[in-house]
Protein backbone atom coordinates (compact mmCIF):
# COMPACT_ATOMS: atom_id res chain seq x y z
CA UNK A 1 0.00 0.00 0.00
CA UNK A 2 2.90 2.37 0.79
CA UNK A 3 4.08 2.05 -2.79
CA UNK A 4 0.60 2.90 -4.12
CA UNK A 5 0.29 5.90 -1.79
CA UNK A 6 3.65 7.28 -2.87
CA UNK A 7 3.19 6.49 -6.54
CA UNK A 8 -0.23 8.13 -6.76
CA UNK A 9 0.79 11.22 -4.77
CA UNK A 10 3.82 11.65 -7.02
CA UNK A 11 1.56 11.23 -10.04
CA UNK A 12 -0.72 13.99 -8.75
CA UNK A 13 2.33 16.19 -8.10
CA UNK A 14 3.40 15.63 -11.72
CA UNK A 15 -0.14 16.48 -12.92
CA UNK A 16 -0.14 19.67 -10.83
CA UNK A 17 3.12 20.72 -12.50
CA UNK A 18 1.84 20.01 -16.00
CA UNK A 19 -1.49 21.75 -15.56
CA UNK A 20 -1.23 24.35 -12.80
CA UNK A 21 2.14 25.86 -13.70
CA UNK A 22 0.17 27.94 -16.20
CA UNK A 23 -1.61 29.72 -13.31
CA UNK A 24 1.73 31.00 -12.11
CA UNK A 25 3.73 31.44 -15.29
CA UNK A 26 1.50 32.11 -18.27
CA UNK A 27 1.06 35.84 -17.65
CA UNK A 28 4.78 36.53 -17.15
CA UNK A 29 5.82 34.35 -20.09
CA UNK A 30 3.08 35.82 -22.29
CA UNK A 31 4.21 39.32 -21.32
CA UNK A 32 7.78 38.50 -22.34
CA UNK A 33 9.10 39.20 -18.83
CA UNK A 34 10.79 35.81 -18.51
CA UNK A 35 11.54 32.92 -20.84
CA UNK A 36 9.90 29.50 -20.41
CA UNK A 37 12.95 27.54 -19.18
CA UNK A 38 14.02 30.16 -16.65
CA UNK A 39 10.41 30.52 -15.48
CA UNK A 40 9.98 26.79 -14.94
CA UNK A 41 13.25 26.56 -12.96
CA UNK A 42 12.14 29.47 -10.80
CA UNK A 43 8.74 27.79 -10.42
CA UNK A 44 10.34 24.52 -9.27
CA UNK A 45 12.52 26.25 -6.67
CA UNK A 46 9.58 28.28 -5.32
CA UNK A 47 7.30 25.24 -5.16
CA UNK A 48 9.90 23.52 -2.98
CA UNK A 49 10.36 26.66 -0.85
CA UNK A 50 6.58 26.99 -0.51
CA UNK A 51 5.92 23.47 0.70
CA UNK A 52 8.99 23.47 2.93
CA UNK A 53 8.36 26.83 4.60
CA UNK A 54 4.56 27.20 4.57
CA UNK A 55 3.10 23.83 3.61
CA UNK A 56 2.76 22.44 7.14
CA UNK A 57 -0.58 24.11 8.02
CA UNK A 58 -2.40 22.94 4.89
CA UNK A 59 -0.86 19.47 5.29
CA UNK A 60 -2.10 19.39 8.87
CA UNK A 61 -5.63 20.47 7.87
CA UNK A 62 -5.97 17.86 5.13
CA UNK A 63 -4.03 14.99 6.68
CA UNK A 64 -4.80 15.43 10.38
CA UNK A 65 -7.74 17.73 11.13
CA UNK A 66 -10.14 16.77 8.32
CA UNK A 67 -9.92 12.98 8.49
CA UNK A 68 -8.10 10.30 10.31
CA UNK A 69 -6.10 8.81 7.49
CA UNK A 70 -6.57 5.12 6.98
CA UNK A 71 -3.28 3.90 5.47
CA UNK A 72 -4.94 0.72 4.24
CA UNK A 73 -7.27 2.54 1.86
CA UNK A 74 -5.54 5.89 1.34
CA UNK A 75 -3.77 4.58 -1.77
CA UNK A 76 -7.13 3.94 -3.48
CA UNK A 77 -8.40 7.37 -2.59
CA UNK A 78 -5.27 8.99 -4.05
CA UNK A 79 -5.49 6.70 -7.07
CA UNK A 80 -9.05 7.90 -7.77
CA UNK A 81 -7.88 11.49 -7.34
CA UNK A 82 -4.93 10.94 -9.68
CA UNK A 83 -7.13 9.31 -12.35
CA UNK A 84 -9.74 12.10 -12.14
CA UNK A 85 -7.10 14.86 -12.23
CA UNK A 86 -5.25 13.31 -15.19
CA UNK A 87 -8.53 12.62 -17.02
CA UNK A 88 -9.79 16.17 -16.45
CA UNK A 89 -6.46 17.59 -17.65
CA UNK A 90 -6.44 15.31 -20.67
CA UNK A 91 -10.09 15.85 -21.63
CA UNK A 92 -9.93 19.56 -20.66
CA UNK A 93 -12.70 19.25 -18.03
CA UNK A 94 -12.27 22.15 -15.62
CA UNK A 95 -12.23 20.03 -12.43
CA UNK A 96 -10.43 21.43 -9.40
CA UNK A 97 -7.51 19.44 -7.98
CA UNK A 98 -8.33 20.47 -4.41
CA UNK A 99 -11.97 19.48 -4.61
CA UNK A 100 -11.13 16.13 -6.16
CA UNK A 101 -8.60 15.34 -3.42
CA UNK A 102 -10.80 16.53 -0.53
CA UNK A 103 -13.88 14.82 -2.01
CA UNK A 104 -12.12 11.51 -2.45
CA UNK A 105 -10.46 11.66 1.00
CA UNK A 106 -13.82 12.28 2.71
CA UNK A 107 -15.49 9.55 0.61
CA UNK A 108 -12.70 7.17 1.51
CA UNK A 109 -12.88 8.00 5.21
CA UNK A 110 -16.65 7.59 5.38
CA UNK A 111 -16.53 4.28 3.50
CA UNK A 112 -13.87 2.90 5.82
CA UNK A 113 -15.66 4.19 8.94
CA UNK A 114 -12.78 6.52 9.78
CA UNK A 115 -13.74 9.69 11.67
CA UNK A 116 -14.39 12.82 9.59
CA UNK A 117 -14.19 16.23 11.24
CA UNK A 118 -17.25 17.95 9.77
CA UNK A 119 -16.32 21.29 11.32
CA UNK A 120 -13.01 21.16 9.48
CA UNK A 121 -14.85 20.14 6.29
CA UNK A 122 -17.25 23.03 6.75
CA UNK A 123 -14.29 25.43 7.16
CA UNK A 124 -12.74 24.08 3.96
CA UNK A 125 -16.03 24.44 2.05
CA UNK A 126 -16.40 27.94 3.41
CA UNK A 127 -12.86 28.84 2.31
CA UNK A 128 -13.66 27.59 -1.21
CA UNK A 129 -16.56 30.04 -1.33
CA UNK A 130 -14.83 32.95 0.38
CA UNK A 131 -11.41 32.72 -1.29
CA UNK A 132 -12.56 33.78 -4.79
CA UNK A 133 -14.82 36.44 -3.23
CA UNK A 134 -11.89 37.85 -1.24
CA UNK A 135 -9.80 37.76 -4.43
CA UNK A 136 -12.55 39.81 -6.17
CA UNK A 137 -12.35 42.52 -3.50
CA UNK A 138 -8.56 42.53 -3.29
CA UNK A 139 -8.18 42.87 -7.06
CA UNK A 140 -10.89 45.54 -7.23
CA UNK A 141 -9.06 47.71 -4.68
CA UNK A 142 -5.57 46.88 -5.94
CA UNK A 143 -6.69 47.87 -9.45
CA UNK A 144 -8.05 51.22 -8.25
CA UNK A 145 -4.94 51.84 -6.14
CA UNK A 146 -2.41 50.94 -8.82
CA UNK A 147 -4.39 52.89 -11.43
CA UNK A 148 -4.05 56.02 -9.28
CA UNK A 149 -0.36 55.30 -8.70
CA UNK A 150 0.23 54.88 -12.45
CA UNK A 151 -1.31 58.28 -13.16
CA UNK A 152 1.53 59.81 -11.15
CA UNK A 153 4.45 58.09 -12.85
CA UNK A 154 5.90 58.24 -16.35
CA UNK A 155 5.02 55.66 -19.00
CA UNK A 156 8.40 53.92 -19.20
CA UNK A 157 8.53 53.68 -15.41
CA UNK A 158 5.11 51.98 -15.49
CA UNK A 159 6.50 49.54 -18.02
CA UNK A 160 9.46 48.78 -15.75
CA UNK A 161 7.17 48.48 -12.73
CA UNK A 162 4.94 45.98 -14.54
CA UNK A 163 7.93 43.90 -15.63
CA UNK A 164 9.23 43.64 -12.08
CA UNK A 165 5.90 43.06 -10.38
CA UNK A 166 4.67 40.53 -12.94
CA UNK A 167 7.68 38.48 -11.90
CA UNK A 168 6.93 38.99 -8.20
CA UNK A 169 3.27 38.00 -8.62
CA UNK A 170 4.28 34.91 -10.63
CA UNK A 171 6.68 33.99 -7.82
CA UNK A 172 3.93 34.40 -5.24
CA UNK A 173 1.59 32.04 -7.12
CA UNK A 174 4.48 29.54 -7.62
CA UNK A 175 5.23 29.66 -3.90
CA UNK A 176 1.56 29.02 -3.11
CA UNK A 177 1.46 26.12 -5.55
CA UNK A 178 3.92 24.45 -3.22
CA UNK A 179 2.51 25.75 0.06
CA UNK A 180 -1.10 24.95 -0.82
CA UNK A 181 -1.63 22.64 -3.81
CA UNK A 182 1.26 20.24 -3.25
CA UNK A 183 0.64 20.40 0.50
CA UNK A 184 -2.96 19.26 -0.11
CA UNK A 185 -1.65 16.15 -1.87
CA UNK A 186 1.09 15.42 0.64
CA UNK A 187 -0.93 16.12 3.78
CA UNK A 188 -2.60 12.67 3.91
CA UNK A 189 0.68 10.98 2.94
CA UNK A 190 2.63 12.67 5.73
CA UNK A 191 -0.04 11.85 8.35
CA UNK A 192 -0.68 8.30 7.11
CA UNK A 193 2.12 7.02 9.27
CA UNK A 194 4.13 5.47 6.47
CA UNK A 195 7.83 5.62 7.05
CA UNK A 196 9.47 7.95 4.61
CA UNK A 197 12.00 10.71 5.05
CA UNK A 198 9.99 13.98 5.18
CA UNK A 199 12.65 16.00 3.36
CA UNK A 200 12.94 13.36 0.66
CA UNK A 201 9.16 13.28 0.19
CA UNK A 202 8.98 17.06 -0.26
CA UNK A 203 12.01 17.07 -2.57
CA UNK A 204 10.73 14.31 -4.84
CA UNK A 205 7.24 15.88 -5.01
CA UNK A 206 8.64 19.33 -5.83
CA UNK A 207 10.92 17.81 -8.44
CA UNK A 208 7.95 16.04 -10.04
CA UNK A 209 5.93 19.26 -10.05
CA UNK A 210 8.90 20.89 -11.79
CA UNK A 211 9.21 17.96 -14.21
CA UNK A 212 5.50 18.10 -15.07
CA UNK A 213 5.80 21.82 -15.71
CA UNK A 214 8.97 21.39 -17.76
CA UNK A 215 7.69 18.55 -19.95
CA UNK A 216 3.99 19.27 -20.38
CA UNK A 217 3.04 22.80 -19.39
CA UNK A 218 4.45 24.77 -22.34
CA UNK A 219 1.35 24.43 -24.53
CA UNK A 220 -1.07 25.40 -21.75
CA UNK A 221 1.17 28.35 -20.83
CA UNK A 222 1.36 29.48 -24.44
CA UNK A 223 -2.40 29.25 -24.90
CA UNK A 224 -3.25 31.09 -21.68
CA UNK A 225 -0.38 33.60 -21.83
CA UNK A 226 -0.71 34.64 -25.43
CA UNK A 227 -4.48 34.46 -25.33
CA UNK A 228 -4.89 36.64 -22.24
CA UNK A 229 -1.93 38.88 -21.79
CA UNK A 230 -1.53 40.76 -25.07
CA UNK A 231 -4.86 42.33 -24.13
CA UNK A 232 -3.63 44.05 -21.01
CA UNK A 233 -0.54 43.38 -18.86
CA UNK A 234 -1.76 45.78 -16.18
CA UNK A 235 -4.96 43.78 -15.59
CA UNK A 236 -2.95 40.55 -15.74
CA UNK A 237 -0.58 41.80 -13.07
CA UNK A 238 -3.39 43.01 -10.78
CA UNK A 239 -5.29 39.72 -11.16
CA UNK A 240 -2.22 37.63 -10.43
CA UNK A 241 -0.96 39.59 -7.44
CA UNK A 242 -4.47 39.70 -5.93
CA UNK A 243 -5.00 35.99 -6.42
CA UNK A 244 -1.54 35.41 -4.91
CA UNK A 245 -2.31 37.51 -1.83
CA UNK A 246 -5.67 35.80 -1.34
CA UNK A 247 -4.05 32.36 -1.72
CA UNK A 248 -1.27 33.20 0.70
CA UNK A 249 -3.78 34.44 3.27
CA UNK A 250 -5.70 31.15 3.12
CA UNK A 251 -2.45 29.17 3.11
CA UNK A 252 -1.51 30.85 6.39
CA UNK A 253 -4.93 29.81 7.73
CA UNK A 254 -4.16 26.27 6.61
CA UNK A 255 -7.02 26.11 4.10
CA UNK A 256 -6.54 24.07 0.92
CA UNK A 257 -7.97 26.36 -1.78
CA UNK A 258 -7.94 26.47 -5.56
CA UNK A 259 -5.49 28.81 -7.36
CA UNK A 260 -7.66 28.75 -10.47
CA UNK A 261 -10.75 29.94 -8.60
CA UNK A 262 -8.77 32.71 -6.94
CA UNK A 263 -7.51 33.77 -10.36
CA UNK A 264 -11.08 33.77 -11.72
CA UNK A 265 -12.17 35.83 -8.71
CA UNK A 266 -9.33 38.28 -9.19
CA UNK A 267 -10.04 38.66 -12.91
CA UNK A 268 -13.70 39.31 -12.04
CA UNK A 269 -12.53 42.03 -9.61
CA UNK A 270 -10.52 43.68 -12.36
CA UNK A 271 -13.61 43.53 -14.58
CA UNK A 272 -15.75 45.02 -11.81
CA UNK A 273 -13.43 48.01 -11.55
CA UNK A 274 -14.53 48.85 -15.09
CA UNK A 275 -18.23 48.42 -14.29
CA UNK A 276 -20.50 45.76 -12.84
CA UNK A 277 -21.81 44.88 -16.28
CA UNK A 278 -18.52 43.16 -17.09
CA UNK A 279 -19.20 40.40 -14.53
CA UNK A 280 -20.35 37.30 -16.39
CA UNK A 281 -23.08 35.52 -14.46
CA UNK A 282 -22.80 32.57 -16.83
CA UNK A 283 -19.20 32.04 -15.74
CA UNK A 284 -20.15 32.08 -12.05
CA UNK A 285 -22.86 29.48 -12.77
CA UNK A 286 -20.32 27.34 -14.61
CA UNK A 287 -17.91 27.57 -11.68
CA UNK A 288 -20.64 26.56 -9.24
CA UNK A 289 -21.49 23.51 -11.38
CA UNK A 290 -17.81 22.59 -11.70
CA UNK A 291 -17.38 23.08 -7.95
CA UNK A 292 -20.19 20.70 -7.10
CA UNK A 293 -19.25 18.22 -9.82
CA UNK A 294 -15.58 17.88 -8.78
CA UNK A 295 -16.44 17.35 -5.15
CA UNK A 296 -19.40 15.00 -5.57
CA UNK A 297 -17.82 12.93 -8.34
CA UNK A 298 -14.63 12.37 -6.34
CA UNK A 299 -16.61 11.68 -3.16
CA UNK A 300 -18.97 9.23 -4.85
CA UNK A 301 -16.27 7.29 -6.71
CA UNK A 302 -14.01 7.14 -3.68
CA UNK A 303 -16.84 6.04 -1.39
CA UNK A 304 -18.11 3.31 -3.72
CA UNK A 305 -14.69 1.95 -4.70
CA UNK A 306 -13.41 1.92 -1.12
CA UNK A 307 -16.57 0.10 0.01
CA UNK A 308 -16.18 -2.50 -2.75
CA UNK A 309 -12.53 -3.04 -1.88
CA UNK A 310 -13.25 -3.33 1.82
CA UNK A 311 -16.08 -5.83 1.25
CA UNK A 312 -13.92 -7.88 -1.10
CA UNK A 313 -10.83 -8.04 1.08
CA UNK A 314 -12.41 -8.33 4.50
Amino acid sequence: MTELILLTSFLIAFAIGSNDASNALSISIGAGVIRFKKAVFLFGILVFAGIWLNGNRVMETVGKNLIQVNPETLGFSLLISAVLIILSNWKKFPLSTHQIIIGSLVGNALASNSPVNFLSLFKILLSWITSPIIAVFISFFVYKLVEKFFLKIAFFKIERFLKTFLLISASLISYNTGANEVATVLGPVVYSGISINFFLLLSISSFLVFLGAYILSDRVIETVGKGILPLDPFSGFVAQISAGVSLFFFTLLGMPISTTYCMIGAITGVGMSKGLKTVKLGLIKKIAINWGLSLSLAFFLSFVITKIILIKFH
Binding site: A154, F155, F156, K157, E159, P230, D232, P233
Partner: protein
Protein backbone atom coordinates in the same frame (compact mmCIF):
# COMPACT_ATOMS: atom_id res chain seq x y z
CA UNK B 1 17.23 53.40 -4.99
CA UNK B 2 13.68 53.22 -6.37
CA UNK B 3 14.78 55.42 -9.24
CA UNK B 4 17.55 52.92 -10.02
CA UNK B 5 15.15 50.01 -9.67
CA UNK B 6 12.58 51.42 -12.07
CA UNK B 7 15.10 53.21 -14.26
CA UNK B 8 15.05 50.48 -16.91
CA UNK B 9 17.36 47.76 -18.17
CA UNK B 10 20.29 48.16 -20.53
CA UNK B 11 18.31 47.41 -23.68
CA UNK B 12 15.56 49.84 -22.68
CA UNK B 13 18.06 52.60 -21.98
CA UNK B 14 19.80 51.96 -25.29
CA UNK B 15 16.48 52.06 -27.18
CA UNK B 16 15.34 55.24 -25.41
CA UNK B 17 18.64 57.00 -26.12
CA UNK B 18 18.43 55.95 -29.77
CA UNK B 19 14.84 57.21 -30.08
CA UNK B 20 15.87 60.56 -28.59
CA UNK B 21 18.77 60.71 -31.03
CA UNK B 22 16.40 59.83 -33.89
CA UNK B 23 14.02 62.64 -32.96
CA UNK B 24 16.91 65.11 -32.69
CA UNK B 25 17.98 64.15 -36.22
CA UNK B 26 14.37 64.73 -37.23
CA UNK B 27 14.47 68.27 -35.83
CA UNK B 28 17.82 68.93 -37.53
CA UNK B 29 16.38 67.77 -40.86
CA UNK B 30 13.44 70.18 -40.43
CA UNK B 31 15.84 73.03 -39.71
CA UNK B 32 17.91 72.07 -42.70
CA UNK B 33 14.79 72.19 -44.90
CA UNK B 34 13.88 75.61 -43.56
CA UNK B 35 17.41 76.92 -44.29
CA UNK B 36 17.12 75.60 -47.80
CA UNK B 37 13.84 77.48 -48.33
CA UNK B 38 15.25 80.61 -46.70
CA UNK B 39 18.60 80.82 -48.45
CA UNK B 40 17.59 79.06 -51.68
CA UNK B 41 21.08 77.60 -51.66
CA UNK B 42 20.63 74.27 -53.44
CA UNK B 43 23.78 72.82 -51.85
CA UNK B 44 21.85 72.74 -48.58
CA UNK B 45 19.26 70.40 -50.06
CA UNK B 46 21.74 67.53 -49.77
CA UNK B 47 21.95 67.73 -45.99
CA UNK B 48 18.41 66.31 -45.81
CA UNK B 49 19.46 63.18 -47.67
CA UNK B 50 22.45 62.78 -45.36
CA UNK B 51 20.32 63.20 -42.28
CA UNK B 52 17.72 60.82 -43.65
CA UNK B 53 20.43 58.16 -44.15
CA UNK B 54 21.68 58.72 -40.60
CA UNK B 55 18.13 58.49 -39.24
CA UNK B 56 17.56 55.31 -41.22
CA UNK B 57 20.49 53.57 -39.56
CA UNK B 58 19.34 54.77 -36.09
CA UNK B 59 15.82 53.53 -36.89
CA UNK B 60 17.15 50.04 -37.72
CA UNK B 61 19.12 50.03 -34.47
CA UNK B 62 16.01 51.01 -32.48
CA UNK B 63 13.81 48.32 -34.04
CA UNK B 64 16.44 45.62 -33.54
CA UNK B 65 17.04 46.69 -29.91
CA UNK B 66 13.30 46.53 -29.25
CA UNK B 67 13.02 43.04 -30.72
CA UNK B 68 16.14 41.90 -28.86
CA UNK B 69 13.90 42.17 -25.82
CA UNK B 70 13.58 45.79 -24.77
CA UNK B 71 10.17 46.67 -23.30
CA UNK B 72 7.10 44.50 -22.83
CA UNK B 73 5.99 42.87 -26.11
CA UNK B 74 2.61 44.47 -25.51
CA UNK B 75 3.95 47.98 -26.19
CA UNK B 76 6.49 47.09 -28.89
CA UNK B 77 4.12 47.35 -31.91
CA UNK B 78 3.01 50.90 -30.99
CA UNK B 79 6.58 51.98 -30.25
CA UNK B 80 7.79 50.59 -33.59
CA UNK B 81 4.82 52.15 -35.38
CA UNK B 82 5.80 55.51 -33.87
CA UNK B 83 9.33 55.18 -35.26
CA UNK B 84 8.19 53.93 -38.65
CA UNK B 85 5.59 56.63 -39.12
CA UNK B 86 8.17 59.32 -38.31
CA UNK B 87 10.36 57.83 -41.01
CA UNK B 88 7.66 58.73 -43.55
CA UNK B 89 8.16 62.40 -42.64
CA UNK B 90 11.84 62.01 -43.63
CA UNK B 91 10.69 60.67 -46.99
CA UNK B 92 8.47 63.70 -47.54
CA UNK B 93 11.30 66.06 -46.53
CA UNK B 94 13.54 64.33 -49.05
CA UNK B 95 10.91 64.74 -51.78
CA UNK B 96 10.52 68.41 -50.80
CA UNK B 97 14.26 69.07 -51.05
CA UNK B 98 14.51 67.17 -54.32
CA UNK B 99 11.58 68.98 -55.97
CA UNK B 100 12.84 72.32 -54.65
CA UNK B 101 15.96 71.94 -56.82
CA UNK B 102 13.74 71.99 -59.93
CA UNK B 103 11.23 74.57 -58.75
CA UNK B 104 10.90 77.76 -60.82
CA UNK B 105 12.60 80.27 -58.51
CA UNK B 106 10.59 83.19 -59.89
CA UNK B 107 7.40 81.39 -58.98
CA UNK B 108 8.90 80.37 -55.63
CA UNK B 109 9.14 84.04 -54.62
CA UNK B 110 5.33 84.28 -54.80
CA UNK B 111 4.88 81.39 -52.32
CA UNK B 112 8.08 81.80 -50.27
CA UNK B 113 6.33 83.46 -47.32
CA UNK B 114 3.81 80.62 -46.91
CA UNK B 115 6.44 77.92 -47.49
CA UNK B 116 8.64 79.44 -44.76
CA UNK B 117 5.67 79.66 -42.41
CA UNK B 118 4.99 75.95 -42.92
CA UNK B 119 8.68 75.10 -42.49
CA UNK B 120 8.76 77.05 -39.21
CA UNK B 121 5.62 75.32 -37.97
CA UNK B 122 7.11 71.94 -38.89
CA UNK B 123 10.18 72.73 -36.77
CA UNK B 124 7.96 73.72 -33.86
CA UNK B 125 5.93 70.53 -34.27
CA UNK B 126 9.07 68.36 -34.41
CA UNK B 127 10.34 69.97 -31.22
CA UNK B 128 7.01 69.40 -29.49
CA UNK B 129 7.09 65.79 -30.66
CA UNK B 130 10.52 65.41 -29.05
CA UNK B 131 9.21 66.92 -25.82
CA UNK B 132 6.12 64.69 -26.01
CA UNK B 133 8.39 61.65 -26.19
CA UNK B 134 10.34 62.93 -23.20
CA UNK B 135 7.02 63.14 -21.35
CA UNK B 136 6.86 59.36 -21.52
CA UNK B 137 10.11 59.20 -19.56
CA UNK B 138 9.48 62.00 -17.10
CA UNK B 139 5.92 62.54 -15.99
CA UNK B 140 4.82 65.62 -17.97
CA UNK B 141 1.60 66.56 -19.67
CA UNK B 142 1.56 64.59 -22.91
CA UNK B 143 -2.04 65.48 -23.67
CA UNK B 144 -1.15 69.15 -23.76
CA UNK B 145 1.62 68.51 -26.29
CA UNK B 146 -0.63 66.31 -28.38
CA UNK B 147 -3.17 69.13 -28.47
CA UNK B 148 -0.52 71.71 -29.45
CA UNK B 149 0.56 69.51 -32.35
CA UNK B 150 -3.05 69.26 -33.54
CA UNK B 151 -3.46 73.04 -33.41
CA UNK B 152 -0.26 73.53 -35.44
CA UNK B 153 -1.44 70.98 -37.97
CA UNK B 154 -4.66 72.93 -38.39
CA UNK B 155 -2.61 76.05 -39.02
CA UNK B 156 -0.68 74.26 -41.76
CA UNK B 157 -4.00 73.23 -43.34
CA UNK B 158 -5.10 76.88 -43.40
CA UNK B 159 -1.82 78.00 -44.99
CA UNK B 160 -2.22 75.19 -47.49
CA UNK B 161 -5.52 76.75 -48.66
CA UNK B 162 -3.79 80.10 -49.19
CA UNK B 163 -1.02 78.36 -51.11
CA UNK B 164 -3.52 76.59 -53.37
CA UNK B 165 -5.19 79.94 -54.09
CA UNK B 166 -1.82 81.39 -55.15
CA UNK B 167 -0.84 78.35 -57.19
CA UNK B 168 -4.13 78.59 -59.10
CA UNK B 169 -3.13 82.09 -60.32
CA UNK B 170 0.02 80.60 -61.86
CA UNK B 171 -0.19 79.54 -65.45
CA UNK B 172 1.49 76.18 -65.79
CA UNK B 173 3.26 75.86 -69.14
CA UNK B 174 4.16 72.19 -69.18
CA UNK B 175 3.41 68.88 -67.46
CA UNK B 176 6.73 68.62 -65.60
CA UNK B 177 6.42 72.10 -64.14
CA UNK B 178 2.93 71.29 -62.85
CA UNK B 179 4.04 67.96 -61.47
CA UNK B 180 7.03 69.58 -59.77
CA UNK B 181 4.88 72.23 -58.02
CA UNK B 182 2.26 69.68 -57.02
CA UNK B 183 4.78 67.22 -55.58
CA UNK B 184 6.70 69.93 -53.76
CA UNK B 185 3.64 71.40 -52.07
CA UNK B 186 2.05 68.05 -51.40
CA UNK B 187 5.18 66.75 -49.65
CA UNK B 188 5.59 69.99 -47.68
CA UNK B 189 2.10 69.89 -46.17
CA UNK B 190 2.22 66.12 -45.54
CA UNK B 191 5.05 66.48 -42.98
CA UNK B 192 2.74 68.04 -40.38
CA UNK B 193 0.16 65.29 -40.99
CA UNK B 194 2.79 62.68 -40.23
CA UNK B 195 3.92 64.46 -37.05
CA UNK B 196 0.30 64.57 -35.90
CA UNK B 197 -0.05 60.82 -36.51
CA UNK B 198 3.22 60.16 -34.65
CA UNK B 199 1.99 62.23 -31.72
CA UNK B 200 -1.24 60.21 -31.70
CA UNK B 201 0.82 57.01 -31.44
CA UNK B 202 2.64 58.43 -28.41
CA UNK B 203 -0.69 59.26 -26.82
CA UNK B 204 -2.04 55.74 -27.47
CA UNK B 205 1.19 54.32 -26.05
CA UNK B 206 0.84 56.43 -22.92
CA UNK B 207 -2.69 55.26 -22.16
CA UNK B 208 -2.06 51.64 -23.19
CA UNK B 209 -0.61 50.58 -19.82
CA UNK B 210 -3.11 52.45 -17.65
Amino acid sequence: MLEKFFGGGKLEKKALESIKNYLQIFISAQECLKNLFLTENLEKSYCIENLEREADSVRREIISTIYEGAFLPYIRPNLCAFIEITEKAFDFMKICAFEFRYLNKEFYQTIKEEVLKIANINIEMAEILYRAFQSLMEKNNLREKNLAIRIYEKKVDEIKLDLIEKVRQKEVTNFWEGKNIDEFLNALVKISDIIEDASDYLYILDISLK
